[in-house]
Structure formats: structure tokens, C-alpha cells
């Protein structure tokens, strides 16, 4: 609807009051918000034209088809991951975000990934499905179930005629003959394969008498393995109450079934080897547990035996103690003898010295110098004062040699000095 032009002659009503007038920046900003919010991340298919690699390492090009053109930029950080060269005329699918480059008033696709069409279409579907399942949490680590300690019965979903079943059974027969296998034979490639694989997993769950399920097929082309990328298989694995090991293809073909499974290995043989390894580890553990028990009990018995020996020793000891006492007695006795001898010697020496001392003090020694000693008889009392005797007393006088007895005739009046 054509709008009336602004009335230059009647500016009584300001246009500003009537409607909002954007600045260029404002409207560009709003466009940017609307575009980016509407599209977010998208896949766009088209043909590359005007391809230019800037010195900065960024790529600039356009995507076009019969009737339209879309500017695109792929920054260095993203294009470093590219596995092929971009060229004009190439048909590709780009994954990226719609962006508005305000400076030039341009909208463009900021490209994150580019894939050639053909393989790309399938890859695209795969990526989309992977993304969807990822968001739903099918690959979440917390959903992974632990494999049983020892699966004695293994369900195998694979082709009955393939190399996979042959490899798995061979390795189990050799390394883990205690494990029984329940095979649910399915087609592993072609139209109905995915449905059969999914049904096989469900059947084994319903059947119930297996501890672990291996979903497997041998190596092949990406197309051969494609059934294992189907949603129905991924969901069957996710919904399995029994832990699932995915062993599809060889080496680096990672399928969705690998991502959903509780454990994934690169080859069917590797799946069987998990079980063999589990068995061997358990055999070793049982061995060590048994050894430990035997060791503990042996130790215990040895220690009790040790206690018994100690007790027996204590029982024997009265005799030992008697012998000890006897020995002590002998020692004391010999000590006593020595002591007595010593004491006697000491005593003898002391006696000799005393006798010598006595000799020095003996009055007899004085007598030898001409003194004599008189005693009043009969008492034998030494006469030290003349006043103690009287005439007529019998006196014994001892000389240095011999003695004589005499009678006192008279008491001299004075001492001998006056004689």
C-alpha cells in the first residue's frame, strides 16, 4: 500500500511521534538479530563461485544456484579442517551460521564445514542424526552400563555366515571355553539389515538368558557398514537392558552403534578378546585370593605354633631353674672361699703389723737398755712408787735377761736421784 509522502507544509505532527525511525545501525542490528535468530545453524547446498583465499587465510566465496546467490566466508580456523580444496563450480553443502556484515550491508553465511555433494548428502544425514541422538543423550557416558564381571553367556547379533562370527567363536573357544554363545543371525548389510539388527538386539533382551550382547560385522566399505549408522539400531542398543559391545568393521569406521554402545571395539576379534581378558583376569584374581587365604592361615598357624613353643619352654623351666640355682650356689661357694682366704690374709697382715707395733711398745725393749721392772708378789703388781711397798715384801725384778726375787730390806727415804 503506497504511503502518503511527508507533508512538508504541515509539520504540526512530527513524524517521530507517529512512527519509529531507525538509524542505519539500528535497523542493521535488528536485521542481524532477526536473521541470526531465525536461521541459527543451517546446511546450505549450492555451487561455489567467486572463490578467493585471502592472505589472512580466510576464504571468501559465493554459493549460488539457478536463481540466487549467497555470500559466504569461511575463516581460517574453520577451513584448516577441510579435507579437500574449494574451487569455483564445485557443488557443496555448507554448514554454518547466517550472519549480517553491517559494514557492507551484506548478509552472508559464515561457513564452519564444507562437504562435497554426493558423499556429503549421506554424511549430512549422518551428522544430523548424530547431532540429534547426541542431544537426546544417547551417547552420554552416564548411560553406559558396566559390562558384567564375567559374561558366561554371550548373545551375538551378526551374520551367521560372516567372518565376524567365525572370528568371535574361534577366540572364545580358545581363550574362554566356559562362555556359551547365543547367536541371533541377521543380515548385516542391505535394505532390511538395520531393522533385523535392531530386532536381533530386542530378541536377545526378550530371550534374556545372555549376560552381554555383541553387535558385530566384519570390515567393509562405508556403505557396507551403513546399517550400523541407522537410528533404529542406535535406539535398540540404547534401549537394551543387557550391556552391548559394538564391534563393527575395521579400525577407524566409527558408527553410531559404536557411539551408543556401552563399549566399542574396532573389530569382532577385539570384542571376543574383551571376554577372554576378563576371564584371564578373574583366573589370576582367584589364584591370588586363594594364595592369600592359604598364606593368612599358614601365618596364623605358625604364630600359634610359636606360642606353643614358648609355653613348652616355660613348662620345662623348673628344672632349668634348679640348675641355675645350683650354678649360682657354686659360684657363691667359690666366691666365699676366695673371700675367706682374702680376709684371712688381710687379718694375718694386720696381725703381723700389730705384733711389730706391740714389740716396739714392749717394756722388755726398755729393759734391754738396762732398766728393770719390779713387781710386788704375789699379785704381780708393777711397782711404780716406793710408798706402795714395805720392808719384808717379796719383789720380783725382771731384767733384760732373766729375773730374780728379792726381799725389801728398807725403803729409801728419798728418790734415787739423791743416792
Amino acid at each position: 500500500m503506497p504511503k502518503p509522502g511527508p507533508d512538508l507544509f504541515n509539520p504540526a505532527v512530527s513524524p517521530k511521534e507517529q512512527k519509529h525511525i531507525y538509524s542505519v545501525s539500528e535497523i542493521t542490528h535488528d536485521i542481524k538479530v532477526i536473521l541470526e535468530n531465525t536461521f541459527g545453524e543451517v546446511w546450505v547446498e549450492g555451487e561455489i563461485s567467486n572463490f578467493r583465499a585471502a592472505t589472512s587465510g580466510h576464504f571468501y566465496f559465493s554459493l549460488k544456484d539457478q536463481s540466487a546467490l549467497l555470500a559466504a566466508a569461511m575463516f581460517a580456523r574453520a577451513n584448516r579442517e577441510l579435507k579437500f580444496k574449494l574451487e569455483d563450480g564445485q557443488k557443496v553443502i555448507c554448514f554454518g551460521k547466517v550472519d549480517v556484515y553491517g559494514v557492507r550491508g551484506q548478509y552472508q553465511l559464515i561457513v564452519d564445514k564444507v562437504e562435497p555433494t554426493g558423499l556429503g548428502a549421506r554424511q549430512l544425514a549422518f551428522e544430523q542424526l548424530k547431532n540429534k541422538l547426541f542431544k537426546e543423550g544417547l551417547f552420554a557416558p552416564e548411560h553406559k552400563r558396566e559390562l558384567p564381571l564375567m559374561p558366561f553367556s554371550v548373545g551375538i547379533v551378526t551374520s551367521a555366515a560372516g567372518a565376524a562370527i567365525r572370528d568371535i567363536l574361534q577366540i572364545l573357544a580358545k581363550g574362554s571355553p566356559c562362555v556359551s554363545a547365543v547367536i541371533r543371525a541377521v543380515r548385516v548389510q542391505g535394505e532390511s539389515a538395520a531393522k533385523e539388527i535392531a530386532a536381533g538386539i530386542e530378541d536377545l533382551n526378550q530371550f534374556g538368558k545372555v549376560d552381554l550382547i555383541i553387535v558385530s560385522r566384519g570390515g567393509g566399505s562405508v556403505e557396507d557398514l551403513w546399517s550400523f549408522n541407522e537410528e533404529i539400531v542406535a535406539r535398540a542398543i540404547y534401549n537394551s537392558a543387557i550391556p552391548v559391545v559394538s564391534a563393527v568393521g575395521h579400525q577407524i569406521n566409527t558408527t553410531l552403534s559404536d557411539l551408543v554402545a556401552d563399549v566399542f571395539v574396532e573389530t569382532p576379534s577385539a570384542a571376543a578378546k574383551i571376554i577372554v581378558d576378563k576371564r584371564n583376569a578373574l583366573v589370576a584374581e582367584l589364584d591370588s585370593l586363594r594364595q592369600e587365604i592359604v598364606f593368612i592361615i599358614t601365618e596364623m598357624i605358625n604364630s600359634l605354633k610359636g606360642g606353643l613353643v614358648a609355653l613348652r619352654h616355660m613348662l620345662k623351666s623348673p628344672l632349668d631353674r634348679l640348675l641355675e640355682k645350683q650354678q649360682l650356689l657354686d659360684e657363691l661357694r667359690s666366691g666365699l672361699n676366695q673371700g675367706i682366704r682374702y680376709y684371712l690374709n688381710i687379718s694375718r697382715e694386720r696381725m703381723v703389723s700389730l705384733i711389730e707395733k706391740l714389740g716396739a711398745l714392749s717394756p722388755l725393749a726398755v729393759l734391754s737398755r738396762g732398766y728393770s721392772l719390779s713387781m710386788l708378789l704375789p699379785q704381780g703388781e708393777i711397782i711404780k712408787e716406793a710408798a706402795k711397798i714395805k720392808p719384808g715384801d717379796k719383789v720380783k725384778t725382771i731384767l733384760a735377761k732373766g729375773a730374780f726375787i728379792g726381799l725389801v730390806q728398807e725403803i729409801a727415804a728419798d728418790n734415787f736421784n739423791s743416792c
Binding site: 564375567m150 567365525r166 530371550f207 592369600e292
Partner: protein, 80 residues
């Protein structure tokens, strides 16, 4: 399934016995009892692992009923 369960139970019991024995709080009589039980458990677990009564069967489903039949490996190898 049943074998797996009893195996796991036995192994757990055995581990517990070893733990109790190494705890050193048991009398000789108790220890000897545990020892006997432990050795029996170890033997039965080992026997399960050495059992060679391995079966390879094919699971088939007919009218919603499951049945097992012998799997002929030689035949499958020919086909492969």
C-alpha cells in the same frame, strides 16, 4: 544369567572372607571355617572359569516363541 549371578556372589563372598581373615580379629576356629569356605568358593569359581561345557546355539523365533538350535559353524565358514 544364573551362572553369572552365582559366580559374582561367590566371588564377592570370597573377597569378603579374605578381608575378614586379614583383619586378624577371628579366632582360630572361625578362621579355619572361613578358610575352608574360602577355598571351596575359590575352587567353584575357578571351576566355572575352566568349564569347557561351552555351547554355541542359534536363537530362532517362531510365532513369538524363542528356541535354541545347534549352530553349525563349519557350514557358516563354508558360506563365508
Amino acid at each position: 544369567m544364573k551362572e553369572k549371578q552365582s559366580f559374582e556372589d561367590d566371588l564377592k563372598r570370597l573377597q569378603k572372607i579374605v578381608e575378614e581373615l586379614s583383619g586378624g580379629k577371628l579366632t582360630l576356629g572361625e578362621s579355619l571355617k572361613k578358610y575352608e569356605e574360602g577355598i571351596k568358593l575359590a575352587q567353584s569359581c575357578s571351576a566355572s572359569l575352566s568349564d569347557a561345557q561351552r555351547k554355541v546355539e542359534l536363537l530362532t523365533k517362531k510365532d513369538g516363541k524363542y528356541s535354541l538350535e545347534r549352530f553349525n559353524q563349519a557350514e557358516s565358514e563354508d558360506k563365508a
